[in-house]
């Protein structure tokens, strides 16, 4: 069945052949309804096993037991059966949307089959491995067959940038700020759709967590699978190389006004004098991001909870030194294996307001949780959670 799904997808895409893959990241183990559980169990009954290293994206339950997921029966049992089926297929119990920060980093130039839009874009753009945006079911089918359709971003010619996204006109203090990356990612995704672009005007490497935030925002507001940043990402030593020596078809010159509007668009809440919760960690927080969170908290107790979503690769580190317990004592809710927009964790609330520093949470929280969103930096999120009222610091 797995090979038939791969072959049928290849035909749909017009791929002339299948190629071997080095690894997979599976986004199909999140419960959306019984159909996905039945599919995974059908694969298990057929005796299928993954043929390559396969990590798992988030599930619908926090199997580490840090947080309480309000998924009721019978959905809860079906979600657990689904997670169990993927384990039986031989997948690693990573349960994170940031597998690339949990030790799964395919080599530059290798072909892989990854699902989860932010993981795909990071894998292609920052690691330089080659994957398409594999949808649920095709990822596991490729993992079992060890093959993927040869098309799209597996082909060198399709990895060339065709447009330039120039941020050089933006003020330096904005570009150096944490929110620049999710805000620009959100704008980039909406402007480019599924095209490959190269970002120019970035003077220094903003670091892996910033690139993670940019890619996640771009892949949720658009259909971005690969971006380049001149002088930063591995396939773009400079803009000319990323463009393959060809003139850009389009050049988007980002103005301060465009960035301001993109930032405003991330918030959906009307003017409000309170917040009900803060959510951070989409994609899952790294250990370095927890360091920043602790520094900003400085031991203060929160009046509204900060939901901090991460993977068990980070949880192990936090638990080693008792850091999780210390954070929880201040009012932080640490969530592992899952996150607040994929499963019911936030209290049900009419007219709830959620503050976040994640472009991806901002995109999906209104539809998936019913909360209106206020977008701000991590520092603003922390100050707001301490006071219970929205706090925004002005830049520059």
């Amino acid at each position: 069945m797995a090979m038939r799904i791969v072959a049928e997808s290849a035909a749909l895409l017009g791929a002339p052949r299948l190629i071997p893959i080095a690894s997979a990241h599976i986004d199909g183990a999140l419960y959306h309804g019984d159909s996905g559980t039945l599919f995974a169990e059908r694969l298990v009954e057929g005796g299928a096993r993954v043929a390559v290293r396969s990590t798992l994206n988030v599930g619908a339950l926090d199997l580490m037991g840090c947080s309480r997921v309000r998924l009721e029966e019978p959905q809860r049992s079906m979600a657990r059966r689904m997670m169990e089926a993927y384990r039986k297929l031989g997948c690693e119990q990573s349960w994170t949307c940031a597998p690339y920060q949990a030790g799964h980093r395919p080599a530059f130039g290798s072909d892989v089959a990854w699902g989860e839009s932010n993981a795909v874009v990071f894998c292609n753009s920052v690691l330089g491995a080659r994957t398409n945006r594999y949808g649920d079911f095709l990822d596991i089918a490729c993992a079992i067959s060890g093959r993927a359709p040869d098309f799209g971003l597996h082909l060198q010619a399709n990895r060339r940038a065709s447009l330039v996204f120039d941020v050089s006109a933006l003020p330096r203090p904005f570009l150096a700020s944490e929110i620049a990356w999710p805000v620009l990612g959100s704008l980039y995704g909406r402007e480019v759709g599924n095209a490959v672009g190269v970002v120019t005007g970035v003077e220094k490497n903003p670091g892996e967590d910033a690139l993670k935030a940019f890619g996640a925002a771009a892949a949720s507001s658009g259909a971005v699978g690969l971006f380049h940043i001149a002088g930063v990402t591995p396939e773009a030593p400079d803009a000319e190389m990323a463009l393959g020596g060809v003139e850009a078809e389009v050049t988007i010159r980002v103005t301060p006004e465009m960035a301001r509007q993109a930032q405003a668009r991330l918030s959906t809440a009307e003017s409000t004098d309170h917040i009900d919760a803060v959510a951070i960690g989409s994609p899952h927080l790294s250990l370095a991001e927890f360091d920043t969170l602790e520094r900003l908290l400085a031991g203060r107790r929160l009046s509204v909870p900060i939901h901090a979503c991460t993977g068990r690769h980070v949880l192990v580190e936090l638990d080693r030194d008792g850091r999780r317990k210390a954070l929880e004592a201040l009012g932080v809710v640490v969530i592992a294996d899952t996150c607040v927009v994929v499963t019911p964790i936030l209290p049900e609330r009419v007219d709830g307001v959620l503050m976040t520093n994640s472009g991806k949470f901002a995109q999906y929280a209104p539809g998936n949780t019913g909360y209106a969103v206020l977008y701000g930096s991590l520092a603003d999120c922390v100050e707001s959670a301490v006071s219970g009222r929205p706090v925004f610091t002005r830049l520059g």
């Binding site: 049928e8 649920d136 995704g189 507001s221 259909a223 209104p366």
Partner: protein, 142 residues
């Protein structure tokens, strides 16, 4: 009037009111898998239901879980009657490919230039398993 579209994934024929989306959508996070209602508050057609409609999609964005949401809509009986796409979408259509593997009846998916979508707005549309897309009349509910 009618036209013949290229079949992307074979499926059952059927008829229903046309729902022509005016902006691309992410099925995951943008459509409620339990009901088929558009849940993305930033989408201009938020609140409308895809269920039972002939759905015209100018494009898709976002999550790689679109396939899961579409398969769940099929399994739970809330799927569109047919999907008309501007171009093949390897993520979304997987939901139909896998549902067929599971032995569930799926709607047909076909390809038609989005330039032609406007003709179908507000109309009752019949789609054939052979790719025929025909306007039956004005959608009385529209």
């Amino acid at each position: 009037m009618g036209t013949r579209a290229e079949i992307l994934v074979p499926g059952a024929s059927g008829e229903g009111p046309a729902l022509v989306l005016s902006a691309p959508i992410s099925f995951w996070g943008g459509v409620d898998p339990k009901s088929g209602r558009i849940a993305d508050v930033r989408h201009p057609q938020c609140g409308q239901s895809l269920s039972g409609k002939v759905l015209f999609l100018p494009g898709t964005i976002g999550s790689s879980s679109a396939s899961s949401v579409l398969m769940e809509l099929v399994h739970a009986g809330h799927a569109p009657v047919a999907l008309v796409l501007h171009e093949p979408d390897a993520i979304l259509l997987l939901g139909l490919i896998v549902a067929r593997e599971m032995g569930w009846e799926t709607p047909v998916a076909m390809k038609l230039s989005r330039d032609a979508f406007g003709f179908f707005t507000g109309k009752q549309v019949r789609v054939g398993g052979d790719g025929e897309v025909a306007i039956l009349g004005t959608d009385s509910a529209a």
